[in-house]
Symmetry: C2
């Protein structure tokens, strides 16, 4: 495989988990951060879990510049400012994968914070330079599992975008990640549902006292001719 | 089992599917409609699929009066008017299970029609007489599968209510339906997510050219000590 993945703000749980899973899939991963030092720490942590080092630390702008797929893995509250600061670094034709979900917590209870555009992904899409496509994915998987190289993911990830071409490209790339099935979730406005599903899952995890809750869609296969 | 289930407006696909599955679970089912004739037709259709007849036709008001759990299975657009007309028939302490989802279609594409209260269930809860609890459930399962007695459901149903007691009662009852696992989805505001998930699934079914798409939540079991 000849896939290069860049992470913007890849030092958090979500970013490190995705860096690990893409590296396990054989991709070349550039883990970006605002400081090279933090990027280096996180990259080292992930590389230790791999047979061979595949994760390279970088400043965010260099993670954007050199990668065929760029993942935005900062918390939603920092997403807009981060994207604004990197506008010049995206090459036309590149694809940004947005994993953010706007959540607020009150006494441990999560609530969805609806952006004016209807969803985080629709909000962020507006901030991208023209020629850059936004694809929403990886919104509902538990970071806890992603970070454990021994854990089977065994779930689905919902992939949506207003660009069918970019969506298909991301779906194809995700197929290389073991145990994670990309589900074609259509246009970006479906993120209004998918982002809320993350919040629902936070509640389920809390109610069932687990950290491993995740979605699987059954019955998407064509019925076999009988 | 000593469970009596009443369906308000049980002649549609959803109502008949639920009548069948509850009857297969051993419940006594009263299938209500605005006319006894239509209720009788639908009941006969379901009884033919069963080893012994368990479904009795009735007017809606009689389905409400005689049942320990009442299901509202009319389309959302008729739900409020239907409930209003039956206000006097609910006994205090009874439980209404709301399965409605407000959807509009444009050229085959489904959109969620958000009620002012945030969800259909929150909207309808306001219309109930005091002492009657509303529980949302059965919002995401494919009617197509429910109606086929040979089909394995093999999926989850999300159960939410602001009354923990009513929610637990419904969860316990649903456990008698084979292949359908009730998931405790917390307070009623989570219907804002669950109802949108129905619309997402309509889109997935369309995109994947199936009618069997349904949700399963993985990872809710406590990890085994070990």
């Amino acid at each position: 495989m000849n896939l290069s993945i860049g992470l913007i703000g890849g030092t958090g749980d979500e970013g490190r988990g995705l860096a690990l899973r893409w590296a396990m899939a054989g991709a070349r991963v550039t883990l970006g951060s605002r400081t090279l030092e933090r990027a280096a720490e996180a990259s080292e942590e992930i590389n230790k879990l791999l047979d061979e080092p595949r994760v390279t630390p970088a400043l965010n702008r260099d993670a954007v510049r050199g990668s065929s797929l760029v993942l935005l893995t900062v918390p939603f509250d920092h997403a807009a400012a981060t994207l604004e600061s990197l506008r010049e670094d995206f090459e036309p034709g590149s694809v940004l994968i947005d994993i953010t979900v706007p959540v607020s917590f009150d006494k441990g209870r999560a609530s969805y914070v609806e952006p004016p555009e209807g969803s985080a992904s629709e909000h962020l899409q507006k901030l991208l330079p023209s020629g850059v496509s936004l694809v929403a994915a990886f919104k509902t998987e538990p970071a806890h599992l992603m970070l454990d190289p021994e854990a089977r993911l065994d779930c689905d990830t919902f992939v949506s975008s207003d660009s069918k071409e970019a969506r298909d490209r991301v779906i194809e790339a995700i197929r290389s990640i073991e145990g994670l099935r990309p589900v074609d979730a259509g246009p970006l406005h479906n993120c209004r549902t998918i982002e809320r599903m993350t919040v629902l899952m936070i509640g389920l995890n809390r109610r069932y006292k687990v950290r491993t809750g995740r979605f699987r869609v059954l019955g998407l296969e064509q019925p076999q001719a009988g």
